[in-house]
Subunit: 400 residues, 2 copies
């Protein structure tokens, strides 16, 4: 047995059941109800999050190469259709509940599915004369914009935004979705716990990230796309960058943050480590952030707003005389994207509802140019939130 | 020393030097010359590939969350500027050569950098009155489309495509870029070699992918976003899907394909494995594909077209009475994307030039619904191509 194999045998070692047909029926039903409320004849989705959410497709290919766009059209009343490159047909048919597939031989630069899409949108045109595409805030469309312009001139219907419609649908998670987020949080939690035994003074940030990501996979994650790291003497200066070639020294504070994926759902949380005994400043900042996180968890209740979750966290920091971080928010929605609607920010008055999954993520500025962040993931329930991550230690973890 | 640590110590264990300032000067100079030829006052890039290519930014954050767009504006004559969320300033300033940065406190849904972008584009408006955005074939823009529409109505300049301009620039690689692709090909080659010792009959496709991706990282890859797998008795039916929960049985043929990343550059190649002795059909198909790959490598010379590289491969298969695969092409450009311009397809008459990096990727249909693919990566030189991947075995690798 090889070394990798012996490592693998130590993994969580089980897979969750696939989503049921009923799960997708409910999603489609809710999507269609929203389309009726907002006056849309159809939505055309092209992004990983929304195609997976509505159609159940599982693929790496579509999201790793921009050569060929993939379209899923869900009309308000008529049958849905996948309009995809011929190379993807087997993949689509064997993973999606939707068996109505139209293909074209791609790459075909002068018509990457646009004629098929135009014909179908013309066929299903309804009384509203409006079709939703992912063009609004926080969206990234999964097709060339010039093809969207072209389509706009070819179809009678008006192209409007469906980003918020989809974000609202996805914001309240089903029990099966929550189970997946809980699973990946558990995997990442175990990996964070193992980290002190993996890293040593002298390791580079890059090598620590490689070991961390490899361990996430060997603990059962499907993908570990986001593993940011920062380190520095008595504090670090960014919570979103790295890895760099910098090697860890005694006295360093290190943060690792991860968005890892299982079954199409992400965790997003971080942990801080001190190489050797932390300074009084670090102890003070860590303590305030830990308490700010507690306050955020406590505030994350149905009926409260995302802004109130921000203010609850910020109050703990300002009461301790600490500047809030320059991140613009103290947590956000989480699910099929590492960051999704809503934002725990002063301007976001979204009312929290049971089933919403949020990160609680206070950050603090100190020592001139240092920042520290804490982060946990939770699900809103009828009462106090249900924590999905193993809670960070009351004191910073020391690696010696 | 932990198990992960002992694995890590077996890695390639070195990093390539960062790109020089001169490398970026040359890229900017070539970009500006292309802008002059095509009549553009500026390009505004938003995608990972093009921001990294022009500005040298290194970040995971920008590409893993759609909440905040990042813009890099390169005018034809005036100074470039990064227009980015405040949270990204430290990351930008410590990795990019461009130290001219304008930020806004994001998330700010009603103005995610659009006013700053509008002001700058107005300031630098030149005689052409045209600004390039990534809106053309094979592009994915890194901003909400509604913001592009809004910008269009706010600036006097016309918005045109710069996808092909950027693709053409990136197609011919510098020695330092080729070095990175060679490095990641070496890492993946080593990982493919180690695979037979890692996997066993009874392992699931999902667990094989996890081990494979973890090993890529522990061998020195920065990321392993694409690890597709397919398996089946005496052949598999897709070269782009998986992993599934399917467990490997004796008699299976398995393919693993990977786009792994080092220093912002990808490899893209695959290997086939037979669990137990392969059937005569498999031996026959493998042999033809191996020879088709040889023919593709041989045809990949300066002056030949991408279409000719396709036909050279296809001829070997049709001469052997084998149907060509339904992929639409037999390889493609490779570099900052797993698939980039050009396509080795009958319709693509791009003339090959020294410095272009291509995959050679013949595929064959057989047995009704089975497909098999081979793939290698190479760089076009003045004469015969320089292979970047360790060549696949002359016969299929048997795992027993």
């Amino acid at each position: 047995m090889s070394k990798s194999q012996s490592l693998l045998k130590a993994t969580i070692g089980y897979e969750l059941a696939p989503f049921t047909a009923k799960e997708f029926e409910l999603r489609v039903e809710r999507a269609r109800a929203a389309m009726t409320r907002q006056g849309l004849d159809a939505v055309v989705v092209t992004s990983k999050a929304n195609i997976e959410y509505l159609a159940g497709l599982e693929t790496q290919f579509a999201w790793n190469t921009p050569s060929r766009p993939w379209y899923f059209v869900l009309p308000r009343t008529l049958p849905p259709v996948a309009i995809i490159p011929e190379i993807g047909a087997t993949n689509w048919l064997s993973t999606s509940w939707c068996q109505n597939v139209k293909t074209w031989p791609s790459p075909r630069p002068d018509d990457e599915g646009i004629t098929i899409l135009k014909d179908y949108l013309t066929d299903i045109r309804g009384s509203f004369g409006k079709v939703g595409f992912e063009i609004g805030p926080e969206s990234r469309i999964g097709m060339p914009v010039s093809d969207l312009f072209r389509l706009k001139s070819l179809i009678g219907s008006k192209i409007v935004d469906c980003t918020m419609l989809m974000a609202e649908l996805r914001a309240v998670k089903s029990p099966a979705e929550i189970q997946r987020i809980r699973h990946i949080c558990k995997i990442a939690g175990r990996t964070f716990e193992e980290l002190p035994a993996m890293v040593s003074i002298g390791d580079s940030e890059k090598d620590i990230c490689r070991m961390f990501a490899a361990s996430l996979l060997l603990n059962g994650a499907d993908k570990a796309p986001y593993t940011s790291i920062a380190s520095g003497p008595d504090g670090y200066q960014s919570i979103i960058m790295g890895p760099t070639d910098r090697r860890i020294k005694r006295g360093d504070i290190l943060i690792l943050d991860t968005g890892a994926e299982y079954g199409g759902y992400f965790c997003d949380f971080d942990r801080n480590y001190s190489f050797g005994r932390p300074s009084e400043t670090i102890v003070h900042i860590y303590d305030a952030l830990w308490r700010a996180t507690e306050a955020g968890i406590e505030a994350a209740r149905p009926g409260n707003t995302a802004a109130e979750v921000f203010h609850a966290q910020a109050k703990v920091l300002t009461d301790a005389g600490i500047d809030v971080g320059n991140v613009g928010r103290f947590g956000h929605g989480l699910g099929k994207l590492i960051t999704e609607y809503p934002s725990n920010a002063p301007s976001d008055h979204t009312v929290l509802r049971p089933g919403m999954v949020l990160t609680i993520e206070p950050s603090a500025m100190f020592g001139g140019n240092c920042i520290m962040a804490h982060e946990e993931d939770l699900v809103i329930t009828d009462d106090v939130a249900d924590l999905l991550t193993p809670r960070a230690g009351r004191e910073i973890t020391v690696i010696d």
